[in-house]
Symmetry: C2
Subunit: 584 residues, 2 copies
């Protein structure tokens, strides 16, 4: 062992102890006759002292050659520090060094190894191994491990069994694009990497393994939007002989446990909200309920006058922004411009200030009188000093626009406190959603989701109205988990494939094994999956997942550190029975 | 919840309790007026009773329709059983059923769901979800989970951090064949699936994450020998600021912990054996030391007479087989045929019986006298009543042949007791091994393994004699883990690539990122990886890994249940910039 202690554990109780430490040179302060070096490892920083009067001359001189990030080993005595540093655990002591070994020299790193670094995203990714030395990244990885361990312990204690499902599976055109793997031994054939272990976990239920989980990598070959990764990690779970209520309770328990154990936060029973209510009230199926600003639908009180914009709209809807009644004309104009950006897409915005004296000042005073505005305030919950913003247009689009505005205003008003946790369940998702592009219905969750029995009769007449036994767990405006009760009989599953536009042959070729399995005694079952990357980021109080992934890929799906993907040689291609087909 | 209790937990203390159970019909015994049904779930079997006198007529009649593997839910009362079954946990009670719901009917399964099934390997794999219902498979999966959890807890408690490394990495021609993944976004380029996270874990060491582990899938596109899988699981570990001794101690501790916690077996400190000693004494670098039969080298006492076979041989080597002195001529001839099979490849075998009276009877009495045989007995450790078998020829081949014989005889003599555990470390592996086919040296472990500093001077003159700081953990004749101290400076790593036949450009293109990393302050580090599939199989007392893998592939790398790999469509190929190149 190169060390007797680590760099985070020595304190006043160790004074006069002989110790050996090893780590990286964080920085040196050379005062000529005295030279202090901060030695860093994963556990902390310990100050070393080289003193012309007390240190062997060779060691003293050698210490002057140390550069940043040199790897060294030192032996010495723990002594009391003159100028104590209350900010670090080892701040009471320093090491009077007697022996110094340079284990490895280091080039000057391309960015500073500090909490606030001077390195941009690109250079940090190229030298990710240096980035990981920085506390924000290192601590994120340690935090992720802690969360994963707590998940495993909690579920194991409840008799869940972690089962590893295969990574080399079968490609299915449903859902996102698969990554595929050409098979050398099976000419012209391909494996696919799993987008999720969905069918395997269902087969485990058929196999009687009634409480399954797995923390598992999944893969999607999608054009990467910001903060998406081609490979990502799920906490994948499934249970048999359960109803939706059981699943909600178990995984609410898990989440409450994590919040308590990891964050020390106790939360009440999670509120439940139907998808329909979430969309009407927040314009969003993953509402952030750390703050209010709930939607007020105003058709009744906004379409009875001669204001043509409102009268032509399917929906007029508004929110009351707390304390925003004093926004200047300039601030309001900027917000109007903000909602008119193509990313939001509103054509304009109406506002109404709620003055402290109970009067109002709106941008549509020409059309609406005091009584109208009293109603607007009532419906949106506006109080004196607030500002009401109204959008109008097609219902779905307008809700989405107002949701974007609501989130933006909450951020600006500091209402999205990362130390506050407001989880909820959104339930009763639609089974199907209409896809404009293909002109047909798609499964909103996936084709294995069970329709609510009471809505089955609508499948032919109003497919969009059929609700599913599907649910999402939402935390601080993010979907962190989602799942459903599954279909567990062949007839319903066949019907579902039919509604989703599969021919009988296609359904059989792709999912025949699952439908076969359902004939051999499949129990009722359901489950859910959490996105681990997102979950740890939110628990860690961060907006982006990248620092919680040791070696992330960039938006082109490249690992810029190892330079992958890359070309492979002709022999390899031949063995795999493929040729390149490149647009020259 | 479909049940109040599971099928393994009810006992006499529950008598008169109203319960709800759900599970699979294991079997029915219909005596006309009385019908017993064994209800099975993951946790056990509970007997249900339908009694014409006490059971509602409809329920009674419905029970007669139940077939094997039907999924049912019952409500009823726990009553004392008349004929108790001491063999099962629930053997004191049965359930007098009042309500019966068929949750799902079942076709007759293609093989019996019993511990000893009538299904062959192929059909069991096709219907793996039914196979998993059987105790031997189900218990293997539960056992695997238990082992994995213990590993995680043990290492986490020692401050190891589990870090997920990427699955989409870079292809390198070194080592086994990679599975590759064409990149859609990076035309003509490919990711590779990792054969191990080797370079990433080393980069984590450079990143200061000084105790890393990961239970992780790895991939090798090899022609599958028996009991190999294209995807397999490793417990991958790495530590910084350690020497070989530290790693051996930590992971010996882990293994001892597993044996104690999982098997209730306490083992002493593991013996350590050099590679050289293992090869000389057992003809094998993974010796099974649950039994003796150590090799005796007999050149000195076998090449001084006129027996040309021995005199022409590089090595004459024998083992004493305990209690085999009474083997018949027929048995001996059969063993001689056994070693002459092409899989073993000996050209013949000499034997010498050690009679109880101290005399000998050998197949070479014409050439060797009593005194010679006394020496043979001394060197091989033979006692009266034993049999000495001798092989001769080129040293390496002969050792391998005698090792095969030793293992075969141990199996026949019942010396390989799966309930006994004899771990050891084999250390001081050669750094390089000569590959006849390519006519050059290859890394025996991998190119990142550190040569022993004291052997470095032999690299040019006698590369085959350079030893590495490399070690294997061996358990009951299986390599269950292996690793090494790594090179951590650029110059040595460059030198190693040179010796392995890489040009400077090749080394840079493939591993430039690692050598760059070594320049920025790489600490001394090393680690090892356990094969989890094999480890759990051995701990579980099994020879084959297949039942410890939920969804294994067959020897052609196929998943016969889901029928993968399979063809993909032309659009997908085009998007991936590849064409098929099939030998028509």
């Amino acid at each position: 062992m190169y060390r007797s202690h680590n760099c985070g554990e020595l304190n006043a109780s160790h004074i006069n102890t002989e110790v050996t430490l090893a780590g990286w040179v964080q920085k040196s302060r050379d005062k000529g006759f005295m030279n202090w070096v901060d030695l860093r490892d994963r556990y902390g920083i310990t100050q070393l002292i080289f003193d012309e009067g007390r240190t062997d001359k060779t060691v003293f001189e050698q210490a002057k050659t140390l550069g940043r990030e040199f790897v060294i080993q030192v032996k010495g005595t723990v002594i009391e520090r003159e100028a104590k540093n209350k900010n670090i655990a080892t701040g009471e002591i320093e090491i009077l060094v007697t022996e110094l070994t340079i284990l490895n020299a280091a080039l000057t790193p391309p960015f500073t190894i500090e909490d606030e670094t001077d390195g941009g995203e690109d250079i940090r990714m190229k030298y990710r191994y240096l980035d990981i030395r920085r506390n924000p990244v290192k601590n994120s990885l340690l935090f992720r491990h802690k969360v994963a361990m707590e998940v495993r312990k909690y579920l194991s204690d409840l008799d869940f069994c972690e089962v590893e499902t295969p990574y080399l599976i079968k490609s299915t055109p449903e859902g996102a694009r698969d990554f595929v793997v050409p098979s050398r031994m099976n000419e012209g054939q391909f494996y696919a990497l799993p987008q999720s272990p969905q069918t395997f976990k269902q087969l485990l239920m058929v196999g009687g393994m009634d409480k399954y989980f797995q923390i598992v990598k999944c893969f999607r070959d999608e054009d990467l939007r910001a903060d998406r990764q081609p490979e990502f990690t799920q906490i994948d779970c499934e249970m048999a002989f359960v109803e939706q209520e059981d699943i909600l309770n178990i995984f609410e328990g898990l989440t409450r446990h994590l919040l308590k154990e990891i964050k020390g936060v106790e939360v009440d029973k999670f509120p439940r909200m139907t998808y329909e209510h979430a969309m009407k009230t927040y314009g969003n199926d993953k509402p952030d309920i750390r703050f209010g600003m709930e939607f007020g639908e105003l058709n009744e009180f906004a379409q009875h006058k001669e204001f043509p914009v409102f009268n032509a709209a399917e929906l007029v809807v508004g929110i009351a922004v707390p304390g925003a009644g004093n926004y200047t004309r300039k601030e309001i104009d900027a917000l109007i411009e903000w909602v008119k950006r193509p990313q939001v897409g509103a054509s304009g915005m109406v506002y109404a200030k709620c003055n402290e004296d109970g009067t109002f000042k709106s941008s549509v005073d020409k059309f609406f009188d005091h009584d109208d505005l009293v109603n607007w305030a009532k419906v949106t919950g506006a109080k004196p000093g607030d500002m009401i913003f109204l959008l109008s247009g097609p219902a779905d689009k307008t809700r989405a626009q107002l949701s974007a505005l609501r989130m933006e205003l909450a951020t600006r008003l500091g209402l999205r406190n990362p130390a506050e946790f407001a989880p909820l369940w959104v339930v009763d998702f639609p089974l199907l959603e209409f896809d404009e592009e293909s002109g047909r219905y798609h499964a909103m969750h996936h084709p294995f989701t069970s329709p609510k029995p009471e809505d089955m009769h609508l499948l032919d007449s109003e497919p969009g109205k059929v609700r599913a036994n599907a649910y999402d767990m939402v935390l601080n405006g993010n979907e962190i988990g989602g799942g459903s009760i599954r279909i567990h009989d062949k007839a319903t599953q066949q019907l579902m494939f039919k509604y989703l536009g599969f021919t009988e042959d296609e359904a059989k070729a792709q999912f025949g094994f699952l439908m076969d399995a359902f004939q051999f005694g499949a129990p009722p079952h359901g489950g859910l999956a959490f996105g681990l990357d997102r979950l740890v980021a939110i628990l860690g109080g961060q907006e982006t997942i990248r620092d919680f992934i040791a070696f992330p890929k960039n938006n082109s799906g490249r690992d810029v550190m190892i330079d992958a993907p890359s070309a492979i040689d002709a022999v390899q291609l031949k063995e795999l029975h493929i040729d390149l087909n490149i647009n020259k």
